[in-house]
Amino acid sequence: MTGTRPRPRTGPSAARGGLATRRTVLRGLGGLAVAGASVGVLPLFGQNGAQQDPAECAAPDRSGDDRLVVVSNWPGYIDPRRDEGNTRDLFEERTGVTVRYTDDINDNAEFYGKVRNQLGSCEPVGRDLMMLTDWMAARMISLGWTQPLDRKAVPNLHANLIEPLRGVAWDPDLQFHAPWQTGLTGVAYNAAKTGEIGSFSELLDNPDLAGRVTLLSEMRDTMAFALKVVGADPEDFTQDQWGDAIDRLRKAVSDGQVRAFTGNEYLQDLAAGNIVACEAWSGDIIQLQFENPDIKFVAPEEGLALWSDNMLVPNGAEHQANAEAWIDHFYDPAVAARLAAWVNYICPVEGAREEMEKLDPSLVDNDLIFPDAEMLAQTFAFMPLDDRQAMAYERDWSDVTGG
């Protein structure tokens, strides 16, 4: 691209002139050739649509003779193997299926980028189960990248899933997904550094908090609240309302009110005192509270956002039956209680609360693990978006968070 410049002083100046022009001409011709070739080649780099038919992308199930299940999950989202009677060992004992477990999901979008090329072209990703948040699960299901579950193989799921999580718009009959854990998004603050915080809008405009606030970096997490702040319903809003919400947020960012948009990192900043309040996930805060009782999680006036991370079986999975056995295992209330006692997120399994009585009575009345119906009634989710909408909104979002 840069080309080599002719070296100076390569000969008498008279000869240099001739040489230079000839070289210029040659270089010009070369440039034209490259340009011409590029015009021909570039269109070949187009991409086909990534939507697939799950039926065509199913792999023969080898569960019978290959007793293995490959699971991808978020870090710290299951009780550790060193614990006596942990849920994974229990699963292996019960079913004889070996678990190969990796915590390689750190971010929905990033994970999407990781599997996009394979799943988009009907190739296996070497996993039997992956845990993705609602909107990403919805997107993958609509792209046809996941396998339908055999209803008969997961009776516990259909019997025990708590009511508020049933009938989601993107998979009303639990055909493709099973919630792994559920959480609430709300507001957390450090009571030692600031007074009580009652609403999300305070995060955006309380001058006492200026520069000491973080929000979550996933668009749906934060924009659901921003929409609430401008009086819109995140489950059903108009383009104008979206615009208002984005402007509201943009103002907070350009005023220097918001220090950062983060993933889990807000935990360190909150603990270190670099921030005094933030948008937060319930389970994280419960764990942080064990170390620092000054940290409080509150349901702001705007309400709480309810979300789930869901188990999905990707196309090309070779051990679907084993994966279904895994799902069913974790919908056994006793197993679910044991898991909830460790991860501290909302347990999506009916009957786990009763099991928890035997396990750890102190957690039974924690409404961030077993919320009551009244609390769940005021939660909200984010409207399903089609791909064009999602892209346009994400672009607005990165425009704001990109300063």
């Binding site: 840069t2 410049r5 570039l42 649509g49 960012v253 791909d387 990165s398 704001v400």
Partner: protein
């Protein structure tokens, strides 16, 4: 040739002189082949793919697929929307490079001329930060500059910072992080080029009535220009494309173009805009480098 030498008749084993030349030429090209292949596979193809992506129909999506429709408008859109982080990246990169140059020059000069037998140890120390991960090093700056940390405390005590002043989430922290992280890229080429300078040249300038300061600017500095040029390039290019420092030490108001490209690519899945922005950044840097190298007039010295 050696493998067949035992079997082949002697006539073949001793090629005629004109043949030798041609064969040597062919061997040269054969030896070039792996490198060329590597270049095509890992540079040319991805580069074309990036160019094509930047010209995709912006109406495309993962559902529909993407068509290369020469959508030059992507560039206009990307520039229109993201010129701020773009300029900010170049600006932060330039300031960090300047700081690196000043700090790095002093350090490299000390190592080259004053370190004596400590030279190797000091060079190892310059490189030592590379033994830990980039991310960990940047995160530790977060601890150093924390709002309740001693650095901020001291600056507040000295009234350099206001009582609720802070360093994290300000351009100061981002530039400090960039400076720290890319300093070795500046020191090493500077050292290489300072170490080559014959100390007698400095003596000669002194002998010829140059005050040490004048001697430095008339002799040492121009002779170290190749190191200055390669050091500033090695610092500026990655620093202006970096987004980790801005992400971890800055706030959204300090976001750099690398971060924007990353989030356009992974979060928004807006590949055309991400690719167009990458191309703009790349072209800007290439142009700046070309102008810079020519202006510095270091072609003969390089």
């Amino acid at each position: 040739m050696t493998s067949t030498a035992g079997v082949a008749p002697p006539l073949e084993a001793a090629p005629l002189p004109p043949d030798t030349g041609r064969r040597r030429g062919r061997t040269g090209y054969l030896l070039l082949l792996p490198g060329l292949l590597w270049l095509v596979l890992f540079f040319v193809v991805p580069f074309y793919s990036l160019v094509a992506t930047s010209l995709y129909d912006p109406a495309g999506s993962d559902f529909r697929g993407y068509e290369m429709t020469w959508a030059v408008g992507n560039y206009v859109d990307a520039l229109g929307e993201y010129w701020r982080p773009l300029l900010r990246s170049l600006w932060y990169g330039a300031i960090a490079t300047l700081f690196c140059l000043v700090l790095g020059y002093v350090l490299a000069y000390a190592i080259a001329f004053k370190a004596g037998r400590w030279k190797n140890l000091m060079l190892v120390l310059v490189v030592a930060p590379f033994f830990t991960s980039f991310l960990v090093r940047t995160l530790s700056w977060k601890l150093i500059l924390a709002d309740d940390g001693w650095v901020v405390g001291t600056l507040q005590f000295l009234q350099v910072l206001g009582d609720d002043g802070r360093l994290l989430a300000t351009p100061v922290a981002v530039v400090a992080g960039l400076t720290y992280n890319f300093l070795p890229f500046m020191v090493l080429p500077l050292y290489a080029s300072l170490d080559k300078i014959d100390p007698r040249l400095v003596e000669a300038s002194s002998d010829l009535y140059a005050h040490p300061a004048v001697g430095f600017f008339k002799v040492t500095w121009p002779l170290s220009l190749p190191g200055v040029v390669s050091g500033t390039l090695l610092t500026f290019i990655p620093a202006s494309g970096d987004y980790i420092n801005a992400e971890l030490l800055g706030s959204p108001n300090q976001r750099m173009v690398g971060g924007v490209i990353q989030s356009l690519f992974t979060d928004a899945n807006d590949y055309p805009a991400a690719a167009a922005l990458s191309m703009v950044l790349m072209m800007l840097i290439v142009v700046m480098v070309l102008v810079y190298v020519r202006r510095a007039g270091t072609e003969d010295l390089l």
